[in-house]
Symmetry: C2
Subunit: 442 residues, 2 copies
């Protein structure tokens, strides 16, 4: 008797069976189509890199999260923990050949040995797009359009891309308190939503050494509500003399103008001066995206403009702007909203194998359907029809095709609508039409 090895995955890792993988592939495919339609080109980088590349020369404190080991050549290597650092290395290494502006998207798994609470996994996919090598606001604007089109392509209507500009925030902070306190203030501000306004106020006083009065003024700005025009007008009126505020508002104004010209529905892009994005490297426009029916899932697509992507690896300045689609959050939200059909087959039609000797005919009708873009599986064994139909229903097939001796004698096929449990008999020439009327129905 064999002594079996227990089949199991590592803690924090999971398999993707078809029910999870079919939606993930659909989502990636839709995102890919949008990225490409804007001219973003795909790249890939290795999963394994020199640890020094990923962690920087002194990055020991990150080690806890990073899968790091010695390879066969005794190199100090690690698995990538995001797609940004590899992209920075990639850009520094190849930008001379790639040229600028350079627009890329990158989809792939990353690994972090972190705590696995709350549905966090140690392996998860990221899905980033960036434009580097230009400071032009045209790219900031395009980033907002891409995010918008992504959400529409994924099937959402009730969503909101929330916009801000770190220049605007920094300018306001300059006016309200001493310079040099911005970073700490923004880090505190970024916690709005997780913490109460009072708590954020307290953190600003503690961490950024501003007065409580100053902190309250900052929070007032962040809490500003109204139309985009209202907000821009009030900021210009109160702080427009500040050069940073002037530039930040000018860039946001142009963004909203272009969005109007190209026909983005009102309300989809909304200024929100509380959006700070805690990451220190954002320096201009920042983006967050919320599903209005599931704001509790947090931002599902976030990003911003940065001054320099690859300062660790090259002296060449590479300013850029980009965002990252939160694949797992989106899938979780879509599942919660009932938007993910429980389907375990990518082909909607099952061709029943009724008479084993007729396998050629079953495969031939399946090929007819495939040629028309309708996936069709032929059941591999000539089991009882009832068993085959049970299999079809369990996997989420939409239609079944059945032909036994009678049908072959008459040149007909039975077409079964598996959801409605209705069956019609049609001549061979009408099979494709009959199947289409079932599988194209929502």
């Amino acid at each position: 008797m064999a002594d079996f090895i227990e089949p199991r995955t590592l803690k924090g890792f999971r398999d993707y069976p078809p029910e999870l993988m079919i939606p993930r592939e659909a989502l990636l495919e839709k995102a890919r189509r949008v990225y490409r339609s804007y001219g973003f080109a795909p790249i890939d980088t290795p999963a394994l890199e020199y640890a020094e590349i990923l962690l920087g020369k002194g990055g020991e404190e990150s080690d806890r999260l990073v899968y790091r080991f010695r390879d066969h050549g005794d190199r100090d290597v690690a698995l990538r923990f995001d797609l940004t650092v590899p992209f920075a290395r990639f850009a520094a290494q190849h930008i001379g050949k790639l040229g600028t502006p350079f627009k890329r998207y990158h989809m792939g798994p990353v690994w972090r040995g972190e705590n696995t609470a709350q549905g966090r996994y140690r392996e998860f996919w990221q899905c980033d797009f960036d434009t580097i090598g230009t400071t032009s606001n045209a790219s900031d604007i395009e980033t907002a359009l891409v995010i918008h089109d992504l959400m529409v392509a994924l099937g959402f209507e009730r969503f909101e891309v929330r916009l801000n500009n770190r220049l605007l925030l920094n300018g306001v902070l300059e006016e309200l308190c001493a310079t040099g306190k911005s970073a700490a203030c923004l880090r505190a501000l970024d916690k709005l939503g997780k913490l109460t306004a009072d708590e954020v106020c307290g953190e600003m006083v503690r961490e950024a050494a501003v007065t409580e009065h100053q902190a309250r003024r900052i929070l007032d700005i962040a809490a500003m509500r109204g139309t985009n025009d209202d907000i821009l007008q009030r900021v210009r009126r109160d702080y427009g003399g500040n050069a940073k505020v002037a530039e930040g508002t000018a860039r946001l104004t142009e963004l909203l103008d272009v969005a109007r010209v190209v026909g983005i529905p009102e309300g989809r892009l909304r200024l929100d001066l509380s959006i700070a994005r805690g990451l220190d490297y954002y320096t201009g426009t920042v983006y967050e995206t919320f599903l209005l029916d599931r704001t509790n899932f947090g931002s599902v697509c976030s990003g911003g403009r940065y001054d320099n992507l690859a300062s660790l690896y090259t002296k060449q300045l590479l300013p850029g702007v980009g965002a990252s689609l939160g694949l797992d959050r989106l899938l979780a939200a879509m599942e919660d909203m009932g938007l993910l059909p429980k389907v375990a087959t990518p082909a909607p039609v099952l061709v029943v194998q009724f008479v084993a000797e007729r396998l050629g005919d079953y495969q031939r009708v399946a090929r007819l359907l495939r040629a028309e873009g309708v996936g069709a599986e032929v059941y591999p064994e000539a089991k009882k029809v009832g068993q085959q139909l049970k299999y079809a229903e369990g996997r989420g097939f939409r239609a079944a095709l059945i032909a036994g001796p009678d049908e072959f004698a008459n040149g007909t096929w039975k077409v079964k609508d598996l959801a409605k449990r209705e069956e019609t008999t049609v001549p061979q020439s009408e099979v494709v039409t009959a199947v289409r009327s079932i599988v194209d129905r929502q």
Copy 2:
């Protein structure tokens, strides 16, 4: 002055810039479409697994090739080195829930720390499909059809799927020499092509302890040429009394019959009794696929039937059949055949930014094209038109759209064919048609 970290990849690893990644994505997408059209469902498994799962309990001799280390929880873990072993573990773990038959495809990177000579990389993609849980010949037949359709979908016409059946070979070996010598004989036979017939003969005598006369007879069988019918007839005549030969020829005959009924062109599927597939676990039909204009690249899609997938992890018998598309070989062959256009943009149209204030109009026309399925990039800066067109040509854009003050005054666009260097001026309403006539041209 900063002390930069040298941007580089590990030995044996490489980046995929757009010129490499665009064809890889296109290839994966086409393969995915074919797999799905037959009802194969996507799955994914973690890159990292328990080393014991991947290597078996005593698999120390494989270690050299495998990236293996201790994780933060001091677990003995490794990066997957193929997609078959993780699939076996996956199947053993989930088959109760998945049910049989189960058809899956799996595309993803695998890692092997092997020698990097001859364009071999330490990270490369595999692209497998399998049907498990049935011994039915219908699945063997379908596997051949899938391979055929894959090659057609990838744009090949001159290719050949070479077929054999290990039962047939084993039966012949039973007749020619003692049983129990099959495995060593087949391993030697698999080297035909790399070694001369004489060398293979020598190896059989040495490794399988057969006589030279026996080895020569085996090689005669393997060298048999002629139509599929000729070969089947001769094998049946000479060895048809052997039960294994009878079953092997029956299964191959049915396969070829079905292929004829469904309309696979003659010559695409060819019996070749020298195909042995060295792997010991193949037990039935075996497949190899050759590009007739690049046979030197070896088989680009190979596989076979096996008796039991997951014997390491479960007592449940999981027979199956499947194959693996050699992504990197195919890409290398396609490059060699000049089938990979040197294009660094997934969008065929560049919209020139002539007047910065008209960005909204440029993005609007780009959206018109995108809505029609034509990718369009808006250049992010209002640089000189000549510079923008140079960028467009360098990246492989097909068409450029240009509008300055005159065009805006007249409601027209200049449409430039970048390959032909021809330019026409059309009204806004005809832009999509004019662009299509350029980008749809081969």
